[in-house]
């Protein structure tokens, strides 16, 4: 997979830089619009950067800045997701959310939150009293004073969702090149000649969806950037599935100036998630978990839902959000250079992605109107991984359950290692199947996964011992 191209690739209409959720959605959008699309990703698999660690919530945009591009993209993304998700077989759990106030100061801000939601066009958001919060979330600590009910906030599968977008792009003619890093580009007034770690490719327009490296990619292409990425780390703790019975709705904090704060939410996989922290750092690649921060998250979760104190931790992880010096998304079309950048998509990218793709396409259409849309596009169905969905193990012929904690079958793992976009590393396999993501974290299945993935990954699970 990592060998150099045998010849110049292309020409493409669109080269998308970055295989995160935004890049996947943009590649899909342009492919369906009839463009010839290539997506390049420097990692061994898609969703390897900011998109691998989020809270998996489909946001209404009730608390986004009024009039912002972010709000517009979130609302459009939210609507399109609801419209298309069944065709992909993507799960959706209609949890709703409650912004919970735990002190008088927070309580005093609730009316403002409701007013903002209404300005943002999310009309069904309303103020509820402490008693009603507890009626809706019976295991919440009795210390809650009141809340804002947001019925339209839902939870989705954070990885199958972008996987569905890129799969549809690929099924309708797009190409993806992984382990392919953009090094530089030359624009001749009509075409980009892009130099990558594996060779050259030619494209008319470049869409920079490089997430944590958005500013770097702009620099490499045009020697300038109008934003700089300031990675913001978010750590998360996942509680055992036994926690699910204690929480059926998303609990949001009253936000502060700096951050949306720590969220406690069910997941579609049947767990409960608490996070993220918000920690500025310089490193764009490495997000470490930190013992003390994890303990604080756990304590926070226990304070919100006391019954979680008896529930073990299943997983811990950390992600990086591509924050910038701006609050707003940084989406621009440099018409002189045929370059569109979609940068600074810091924490609402999963919701906003489809809307961002629409917005980017609109910008592009201002200069390239009248293209023929793809007729009758293919709609590939992605594996159902949600706890409430029809999982593979419920259907005969799966051969064996390999991951017992998450009930992942051999058939599912084999499927994820083949097809148009096979898993490129163990993280990619986990995101496609959930194998090894359960409570034992591979005690039972890691060795079998090592054997099943032999020869598939550049970074294999096994090592070869030198006998010296």
């Amino acid at each position: 997979m990592t060998e150099e191209f045998s010849a110049l690739r292309g020409p493409y209409d669109i080269a998308v830089i970055g295989g995160g959720v935004v890049g996947c959605a943009v590649a899909r959008r342009f492919t369906l619009a009839g463009a010839r699309v290539v997506l390049i990703e420097k990692a061994a698999d898609i969703l390897a950067g900011a998109s691998k660690g989020n809270s998996a919530i489909l946001h209404t945009g009730f608390d986004a800045p009024a009039g912002s591009i972010e709000l517009r993209c979130m609302k459009a993304g939210y609507a399109e997701f609801l419209e298309i998700r069944e065709r992909f077989g993507l799960p959706l759990v209609k949890t709703s959310a409650i912004v919970a106030a735990w002190n008088e100061d927070e309580l005093a801000k609730l009316d403002e939150i409701v007013a903002q939601a209404h300005v943002n066009g999310v009309a069904n958001v309303s103020r509820i009293a402490g008693g009603e919060v507890l009626a809706r979330a019976p295991h919440l600590s009795g210390a809650v004073l009141g809340g804002v009910w947001v019925p339209g906030e839902y939870i989705i599968d954070p990885w199958s969702t972008p996987l569905a977008y890129i799969h549809q792009a690929l099924a309708n003619g797009a190409e993806i090149l992984r382990e392919t890093e953009l090094l530089s580009g030359e624009f001749d007034g009509e075409h980009w000649m892009l130099s990558t770690s594996r060779g050259k490719l030619q494209a008319s327009t470049v869409v920079n969806c490089a997430g944590l490296f958005g500013d770097v990619v702009d620099q490499r292409l045009i020697g300038a950037t109008h934003f700089s990425i300031k990675p913001r780390k978010g750590q998360f703790v996942v509680f055992d599935k036994a926690a699910a019975k204690f929480l059926n709705t998303i609990i949001l904090p009253v936000p502060t100036e700096r951050t949306k704060g720590i969220v406690l939410t069910p997941t579609v996989f049947g767990n409960v998630l608490v996070g993220p922290t918000a920690e500025e750092q310089d490193d764009r690649s490495v997000a470490t978990v930190e013992h003390d921060a994890l303990e604080q998250l756990i304590a926070k979760a226990h304070a919100i839902v006391p019954a979680l104190a008896g529930v073990p931790v299943t997983a811990i992880y950390a992600g990086l959000r591509p924050a910038t010096e701006h609050k707003e998304y940084q989406i621009r079309y440099d018409v002189e250079k045929n370059l569109i950048v979609a940068g600074g998509i810091r924490s609402t990218g999963l919701t906003g992605a489809l809307g961002i793709a629409q917005y980017v396409e609109e910008l592009y259409e201002t200069r390239h109107a009248g293209r023929q849309k793809r007729q009758d596009p293919v709609w590939p169905v992605v594996p159902m991984l949600a706890e409430q969905g029809a999982r593979d193990w419920t259907r005969p012929g799966y051969d064996q359950i390999v991951c017992h904690c998450e009930l992942v079958t051999k058939r599912e793992i084999e499927a994820a290692l083949s097809g148009p976009l096979p898993a490129g590393d163990i993280g990619g396999l986990k995101r496609r199947t959930r194998a090894g993501m359960g409570r034992c974290q591979g005690f039972y299945c890691n060795a079998q996964l090592a054997e099943m993935t032999r020869g598939h990954f550049a970074a294999p699970l096994e090592v070869t011992v030198r006998h010296d």
Partner: protein, 409 residues
């Protein structure tokens, strides 16, 4: 639903198989073992070291040989071992939802015995800081790499913990060309008993006490760990290509957590009475799912003993749960099993209360019956060591609602 099964046993490790053998020996006709793996035998399948089988078979065997022997005996005894059968739900009254490669099924045996064993605590639940590279494993996974798949996950790991299982890991490493860099133990002494605790040193592996791995580095594979040493020594970076997290056993009680059965937060296994009976009397439990962690021999005997109570129960000879007393752990005690005492007439049940301590402790081990001291004994106890109190201490008390087991320094 129409299949007639007397007893369904979940898990084919030493406790499950010995229970099945005993049930068959006592004339129970239809005994089924449900095993989710492809091969029966449980954890001993991949523990290649002795000593297994001394108590059961009068000779010392390796784990795989012991597992094969157990399975062969069960087959000879007409136990119906169904591998690749995953129990996905425990329903009231002993009804089991099963997933098999041929489709889903529901079983309705007269009694269920849960014998799902233990596993080790993974990195996540230990909340160890750092990156999340390849090469971080528990001993169970290492053993599966070596003995079930003929592979290795690392060459120069550090080993965390000094329970018996860590020494087993050292033996596996050394016989397969893996050279552990060091062992780290957060306490001031090894958890495994002397002289076994000398074993790593004899192999030239440094053992550092009062030392804790606090962070892991590397991408995509482990490159080093940060170790916090004894007071005043600060952090030290140790190069390695893997982290083996040993011990820290927890019952594999996910089915119970997801069910109507009462789970004891102290043992993290099902709450049982002295007959191994769970809060729903259709369910019994035996082996390491009851408590972390005992030897295979202990689990074998426990499975056999609890099988006898199942037979008694099928004959209507066990007392009902009326007038039960609860047995709870007080200060200085990590857990106590059983957690309930049924008022028994003519049936003794377990011989002992099993307790464990969370850390090294010296003091008076006491049992209180409704706040009255009924048992007291000087004790010096270490974590992960078996501590027993004769059951008759509590069983002799009539009408007590609450027993507390505690250690006062």
């Amino acid at each position: 639903m129409t299949e007639r099964i007397d007893v369904a046993i979940i898990g084919s490790g030493p406790a499950g198989i010995s229970a099945a053998l005993e049930l068959r020996k006592l004339g129970v006709r239809r005994v089924v073992i449900l095993e989710r793996e492809r091969d029966a035998g449980g954890v001993p399948r991949h523990c290649a070291h002795p000593p297994y089988g001394f108590w059961e078979f009068g000779r010392i065997m390796t784990g795989p040989a012991y597992a094969r022997r157990l399975v062969a005996l069960a087959e000879q005894a007409d136990v119906d071992i169904r591998t690749l059968n995953t129990v996905v739900n425990l329903l009231p009254g002993g009804i089991l939802d099963i997933a098999t490669p041929n489709g889903r099924a529901q079983l309705c045996p007269r009694r269920v015995l849960i014998a799902t064993g233990v596993r080790e605590t993974p990195r996540s639940a230990r909340l160890i800081s750092g990156e999340r590279p390849l090469g971080i494993l528990n001993t169970g996974a290492l053993q599966a790499y070596i003995h079930l798949h003929g592979m290795l996950p690392f060459q120069r790991p550090v080993i965390v913990g000094t329970e018996l299982v860590a020494l087993s890991a050292v033996a596996d490493c050394r016989s397969h060309g893996v050279r552990p860099v060091a062992m780290f133990e957060k306490n001031s002494r090894a958890t495994a008993r002397w002289p076994l605790n000398l074993f790593p040193r004899l192999l030239g592996i440094p053992v550092r006490y009062n030392s804790e791995v606090v962070a892991i580095k590397g991408t995509p594979r482990v490159t080093s760990v940060l170790v916090r040493g004894p007071e005043g020594e600060g952090l030290q970076e140790v190069s390695c290509d893997g982290v083996l997290l040993t011990g820290g056993f927890v019952p594999e009680a996910s089915l119970i957590r997801g069910s109507h059965l009462v789970l004891d937060p102290a043992s993290q296994g099902p709450a049982i009475d002295q007959f191994g009976r769970c809060s729903d009397p259709s369910y019994f439990a035996a082996g390491n799912v009851l408590r972390p962690v005992e030897t295979a021999g202990w689990c074998f005997r426990e499975g056999r003993r609890i099988a006898r109570y199942v037979v008694d129960d099928l004959a209507g000879a066990l007392p009902t749960g009326q007038g039960e007393g609860e047995i709870v752990c007080g200060d200085g005690v990590k857990f106590v099993v059983p957690q309930r005492l049924a008022q028994a007439v003519g049936k003794a049940g377990a011989e002992h209360l099993e307790i464990r301590v969370p850390c090294a402790i010296k003091g008076k081990l006491r049992v209180l019956a409704d706040a009255r001291v009924i048992f007291e004994k000087a004790i010096s106890a270490l974590p992960e060591r078996r501590i027993l109190i004769p059951l008759r201490v509590v069983a002799a008390q009539r009408g007590v609602r609450r027993f507390v087991v505690e250690i006062k320094p």
